[in-house]
């Protein structure tokens, strides 16, 4: 933007927005991420898609720290690669601080866990969601995410730790199974954005069964993780199907807290790593 800050009037916001749009239009289109499968998994593909009964997607560090320690056999089934995203520094063994998204098969059965450990920009979130649901056809999806308290423009005086949202299909399946869930719904008028919103929105449009659990990022680490664990336990009781592999005990919460502390770049432990 060409103006003299000492003598000229500051340009109006409209001019600034127009210039940004003009510059952005000249850039290339964003690329879809690549969904890659391990050699052993490729025999399970049907029409190029992986059909699974349960798909669990973790989108925030707190949830990822817990889900990685799920008490079951976890085997890496594949990875989701975002073009122009660096893999420098990725460990040989999966680690919480890696900037990767691994797809993990649970107990060798028809359940898949996606551990999305990198940040997906809002502009690419819908592409990411479409790529995942083109490659994976789940019967039911669980999405775990967190949003900071400042993003909520609601009266949070009752201070629930988690809110829930369901697609129409998930809601009708729950009502058929006559299972109530005590987790409060996200208050009306509050919007979620980013990758969790892209995933749930896509499921709603395509009439898939999906549930989103979004947690607040307030509070200390241990407190937050315990609240996530208890919310998860409440949710699992209300879901149709078998979700025993997601029952997380107190020892998992303690281990997850230690992993988060070790993965945090500001801890003293990292100085001696």
């Amino acid at each position: 933007m060409d103006f003299d800050p000492l003598t000229a009037d500051f340009p109006q916001r409209l001019e600034f927005d127009e210039e940004q749009e003009a510059q952005a239009q000249g850039k290339s289109e964003p690329c879809s991420p690549l969904v890659l499968w391990a050699m052993g998994e490729q025999t399970q593909l049907s029409d190029g898609c992986m059909k699974v009964a349960q798909l669990v997607i973790g989108c925030s560090r707190d949830w990822l720290a817990l889900l990685r320690l799920a008490p079951c056999k976890l085997e890496i089934a594949g990875s989701i690669i975002v073009v122009d995203h660096s893999l420098a520094g990725v460990c040989l063994q999966p680690h919480l601080k890696d900037s990767t998204c691994l797809s993990v098969r649970v107990n060798g059965q028809s359940s898949l866990l996606l551990l999305c450990q990198y940040a997906v920009p809002d502009e690419q979130a819908v592409l990411w969601a479409e790529a995942v649901y083109s490659a994976i056809r789940p019967e039911q999806t669980l999405i775990f995410a967190s949003q900071p308290s400042r993003n909520y423009s609601i009266d949070n005086s009752e201070d629930p730790s988690c809110y829930m949202l369901n697609t129409d299909q998930a809601r009708s399946a729950a009502s058929h199974a006559d299972r109530a869930c005590d987790i409060p719904l996200l208050p009306a008028g509050q919007l979620l954005t980013g990758l969790p919103a892209a995933l749930l929105s896509l499921c709603q449009v395509r009439q898939l069964k999906a549930t989103l659990l979004v947690s607040d990022q307030a509070g200390g680490q241990h407190t937050r993780l315990r609240q996530l664990q208890s919310s998860l336990a409440i949710l699992l009781k209300a879901l149709p199907g078998s979700w025993n592999w997601l029952n997380l005990g107190e020892d998992i919460v303690r281990k997850a807290a230690k992993d988060l502390e070790a993965a945090s770049p500001s801890t003293r432990a990292s100085l001696y790593a």
């Binding site: 409209l14 127009e18 979130a125 423009s153 009266d155 129409d168 008028g189 896509l202």
Partner: protein, 255 residues
């Protein structure tokens, strides 16, 4: 862009007018659509999926829908009575995607074949030119002579052109101009109603545009879904959704 119809709903807008917002300053068009849809209790008949819009999700957008029902970025609402349909857009196009989104939307409009398209938009009040300061609050631009006549019969003036020293409105890259340009190229009759505003509490501006579009479409025999006013006044009794209660955050405690 993909339109997913909700079961047992018509897949065409033939014979109907389609009202949609342009995501612009103050979100006035979207607020006006909220009033129109909530007052008409229009059911959601389809959802559109596109990679151009930023993602957002919420629930309980309108009072006539189940409280748990999700609201996605682009949804089509068709009231059971009347010949007006509404397309609500809840999030803006991503940076650099305005032209692509306009093209996709125009192609979708070609498939749906509405009789006419009315876009509700707002312009920055700080960007008004001198000769626009004394204009009435609502103005229009239209690609159809018939729609232009209807607007003028309602004393809605045409939006005057920018001075020669400034970029023309038609060359702008932000909504509603890309959509208007593409619709004109595809010969889709489109009329845009504008109001000037600044960012702030823009609900009154939403009411202004809702009143204007109601008069415009009622005159053509279209919008019969809002509560009919008395003959002396043409101002409908708009019902804002309960979701508007948190529009500007939670109510602060009194001290």
């Amino acid at each position: 862009m993909q339109l997913v119809q909700i079961a047992q709903q018509p897949a065409t807008l033939e014979g109907k007018s389609l009202v949609l917002p342009a995501v612009s300053v103050g979100n006035v068009g979207q607020l006006a659509l909220d009033l129109l849809i909530n007052t008409a209790a229009a059911p959601c008949t389809g959802r559109l999926q596109t990679t151009c819009l930023l993602p957002c999700i919420g629930r309980g957008a309108y009072d006539h829908q189940p409280a748990e029902s999700l609201a996605t970025p682009l949804e089509l609402y068709i009231p059971k009575v009347g010949s007006v349909a509404y397309l609500q857009q809840r999030s803006p196009a991503a940076l650099g995607q305005q032209a692509v989104f306009a093209k996709q939307l125009a192609e979708q409009l070609q498939k749906l074949r509405p009789e006419e398209v009315v876009v509700l938009a707002s312009l920055d009040a700080a960007g008004r030119f001198d000769h626009q300061l004394s204009q009435p609050p609502v103005s229009f631009r239209s690609s159809s002579p018939e729609l232009s006549q209807r607007c003028q019969a309602l004393d809605i003036p045409e939006l005057q052109a920018a001075p020669a020293s400034e970029p023309a409105y038609e060359d702008r890259l932000l909504p509603p101009w890309p959509l208007m340009q593409v619709c004109s190229e595809k010969e889709i009759p489109v009329t845009t109603l504008f109001t000037f505003c600044s960012e702030g509490d823009n609900a009154p501006h939403g009411v202004l545009l809702a009143n204007a579009v109601h008069k415009l479409l009622a005159r053509s025999g279209g919008d019969q879904s809002a509560e009919q006013p008395s003959t002396e006044s043409c101002v409908p009794h708009w019902q804002p959704p309960h979701a508007w209660q948190q529009l500007y955050g939670p109510v602060q405690p009194a001290f």
